[in-house]
């Protein structure tokens, strides 16, 4: 059967179980769009900027636990995806990005809208391809999806020259793919397992430290079981939120630069750390030589390069988090209960004391809204059930501190790369993945303006996302650093000039609210969330509120600046 390249592409995408893609057309992909229009079972969401397409695909992948797909044209279409790809790479999110390319005969000739996107994205993709022969197309697409979703997931880019999309060739469903050396280790080394059980038995002050790998491996249930079975408290990184219920008594809160006091103190004082799917990012560890300095560390990760990279561990285990935990849980079940489930009375009461003496706190007066109050109310009003996306900065940290996530795949944030402008397109992607869920972007007045154009995408595609803007008229996180470390030299962080977000919402066809009164925060949230369609709720908040606790960059995480 002879098919056009573009038709093979669409067929192969569908055969991977994809039903939604995010994209933007252009000259180099016009054949693909011509074909796409004939496939009603493949939903295309037209974004307003290619960066938005990739962030939306990223969040779609996370909310649904699948591979996200974006389609863009050559040249600027492709370069606009780079931030999104780099963010997905830092957070290990499975994506396949298809970019158009000039015809193979023109490659290297500085043709119109030509760019070496394979070269540009080499360091920020898990792998990438330039399809040079139409016969290879089907196989490469299959490989791309396999690479994106297997092992430690990540973004894969496939560059598609226009003549390859136009070529008519014999189509044969590719058989099994053969990647000579790519064989991720899912099953852990048995010998190490015995050591884990011994370490758990011996520990007096243990903690579990869960990361994004738990979410990716769909292992939050196992983490929760491990904690309950052994009575070990849990902390989880920004990327690992939802790996363990945020309302559980054994929950320590998030660790790191803006972590809770008890989480950071627990890391500083524990004698055993069971690290699962974490890569020990500098925002979590602070000064490395003081990080978990009294602890034996067990590290479970599917990526061998994550092990011993920043932190030396005592018991390294290469394997899939979920699979490894299943083995560990089975072994623990065979042990006498009293040996594995200890009261840890002293340890847990120490943690309670840290919690009680130094909780997360802020003071809400009558005049000015505190940003933390908005998030706390949002958690209450939504009963903690919403999918929350964030921008980056103070809004992200307050969301992480004051919204308590009980389920995985509910907190979607650009963790590793820290992309301002991530939250709105991400909310759109999450809503496309989970149309029945309430999806809220928690934003700042600065970051919401970085991809504000995606409001139109949400409205056109009827993806009814809600946006909460915490407007402090500053680029708040940088302002905070300037306050603490640069003698309040507020260089270029003052943002008292912003658009009227209510009018802006209306201009796009959304509904806008503004709230300046603490007593009306709850009512505004209830009304805004109930309102059908896309809604912006702008809260004028205290201008110079800072995120506490704070560990100065490079400091020990047990030495926090407190309110």
């Amino acid at each position: 059967m002879k098919l056009k390249g573009a038709e093979i592409l669409i067929r192969m995408i569908k055969s991977q179980g994809v039903d939604t893609i995010f994209g933007y057309p252009g000259g180099a992909v016009i054949d693909i769009y011509d074909e796409l229009n004939r496939h009603e079972d493949l939903n295309h969401i037209l974004v307003r900027h290619e960066q938005g397409a990739v962030h939306a695909a990223d969040a779609y992948a996370r909310a649904k636990g699948t591979v996200g797909v974006a389609l863009v044209t050559s040249g600027p279409g492709a370069t606009n995806t780079v931030t999104g790809i780099a963010s997905a790479h830092a957070d290990s999110i499975p994506l396949v990005v298809f970019s158009g390319q000039v015809p193979t005969g023109l490659i290297g000739n500085d043709a119109f809208q030509e760019v070496d996107i394979v070269g540009i994205t080499r360091p920020c993709t898990k792998h990438n391809y330039l399809v040079k022969k139409p016969e290879k197309l089907a196989c490469i697409i299959k490989e791309a999806f396999h690479l994106a979703r297997s092992g430690r997931p990540g973004p894969v880019l496939v560059d598609l020259p226009k003549d390859i999309m136009q070529a008519e060739i014999e189509f044969k469903e590719p058989s099994e793919i053969s990647l000579k050396s790519y064989k991720p280790t899912y099953k852990p080394n048995k010998k190490q397992m015995g050591k884990v059980i011994e370490l758990i038995k011996q520990a007096e002050k243990p903690i579990i430290f869960a990361g994004g790998g738990v979410i990716l491996s769909k292992a939050s249930e196992q983490v929760t079981r491990l904690s309950r079975m052994t009575n070990i408290p849990v902390t989880a990184t920004l990327m690992g939120r939802g790996a363990f219920p945020g309302t559980d008594p054994l929950w320590l809160g998030m660790p790191g630069m803006h972590g809770t006091y008890r989480a950071n103190m627990s890391i500083g004082h524990c004698d055993l750390m069971v690290a699962i799917g974490v890569r020990f990012d500098d925002r979590v560890t602070g000064r490395l030589d003081t990080f978990a300095q009294h602890a034996k560390i067990i590290q479970i990760d599917i990526d061998p390069t994550s092990i011993h990279k920043n932190v030396k561990v005592d018991c390294p285990i290469v394997g899939d988090c979920g699979y490894t935990l299943d083995v560990i849980l089975d072994m623990l079940e065979k042990e006498p209960v009293e040996e594995i489930k200890k009261d840890h009375t002293e340890w847990l009461s120490q943690i309670t004391e840290w919690k009680e003496t130094t909780p997360l706190k802020y003071e809400q007066g009558d005049d000015v809204i505190k940003p933390q109050f908005v998030i706390e109310k949002l958690h209450q009003v939504t009963e903690g059930q919403a999918i929350v996306t964030t921008e980056v900065g103070q809004n992200q940290m307050w969301a992480a501190q004051y919204y308590h996530f009980d389920h995985p795949n509910h907190f979607i944030t650009s963790g590793g790369l820290g992309v301002m402008g991530f939250g709105l397109p991400a909310a759109i992607g999450a809503k496309a993945a989970c149309p029945d869920k309430l999806v809220i972007d928690i934003a700042g007045d600065g970051s919401i303006q970085m991809n504000i154009q995606e409001l139109m995408t949400a409205i056109e595609s009827k993806l009814d996302v809600k946006v909460v803007i915490l407007n402090n008229q500053f680029l708040g996180m940088v302002r905070q650093w300037q306050e603490f470390f640069y003698e309040k030299n507020y260089s270029s962080t003052n943002m008292d000039q912003s658009p009227d977000f209510v009018k802006l919402a209306e201009a796009y066809g959304a509904k806008g609210y503004r709230c300046e009164d603490p007593s009306k925060v709850e009512a505004t949230l209830i009304e805004g969330l109930d309102e059908p369609g896309v809604v912006i709720m702008e809260f004028m908040v205290a201008k110079e509120e800072s995120v506490y606790p704070m560990v100065p960059a490079g400091g020990a995480i047990t030495e926090m600046l407190l309110v």
């Binding site: 070269g119 080499r122 360091p123 898990k126 990647l179 050396s181 790519y182 990526d303 061998p304 390069t305």
Partner: protein
């Protein structure tokens, strides 16, 4: 921590862009490449890269793991602590004044190298051998006045068992 020299033998897919992936990995992560040599193997679609790098012992572990993580890298063999045969080739152009010619030829003879080009005032010498041999040879020729050197990177293969 001490800085050591490591010798890696890497089999990769013979595809455009593979060398750039490896070079990019080293530059992006601040690893150092001392020398690099790439050529085909008898297997179609497979090339061998022999690389010499200098770093601390825990960094070499990261380098090997990161290399292995590249999809186009098939195997990474660290030959450093194994039995291996290693060679590199140099062309060395040296000043050869009449009063030094005999001495240069004696050195050439001792090192079993050969003169491949002669002029009234220079020799060009071809030398093959391991890195130590090159260092020794060059240090002996230096006083004569080396004009220029072209060297390949090191290439190496693991030794097979004798029995």
């Amino acid at each position: 921590m001490s800085i050591n020299t490591y010798l890696l033998s890497i089999l990769v897919d013979d595809e455009p862009g593979v060398l750039s992936r490896i070079a990019g990995l080293f530059s992006g992560r601040g690893f150092n490449i001392e020398s690099l040599s790439v050529a085909n193997t008898t297997e179609p679609d497979v090339s061998r890269i022999t690389m010499v790098t200098r770093c601390e012992p825990d960094i070499i572990e990261q380098i090997k793991k990161q290399l292995h993580k590249l999809i186009n890298v098939i195997t990474v063999n660290d030959l450093t602590d194994k039995r291996y045969i290693q060679r590199q080739l140099s062309l060395i152009k040296v000043h050869a004044h009449p009063d030094k010619r005999a001495e240069i030829l004696r050195i050439v003879d001792i090192f079993r190298s050969k003169v491949v080009d002669v002029g009234p005032a220079h020799f060009t010498i071809e030398l093959s051998g391991d890195m130590e041999k090159h260092e020794a040879f060059i240090s002996l020729l230096k006083p004569m006045g080396i004009i220029e050197i072209a060297s390949t990177g090191a290439i190496a293969l693991a030794r097979e068992n004798k029995h």
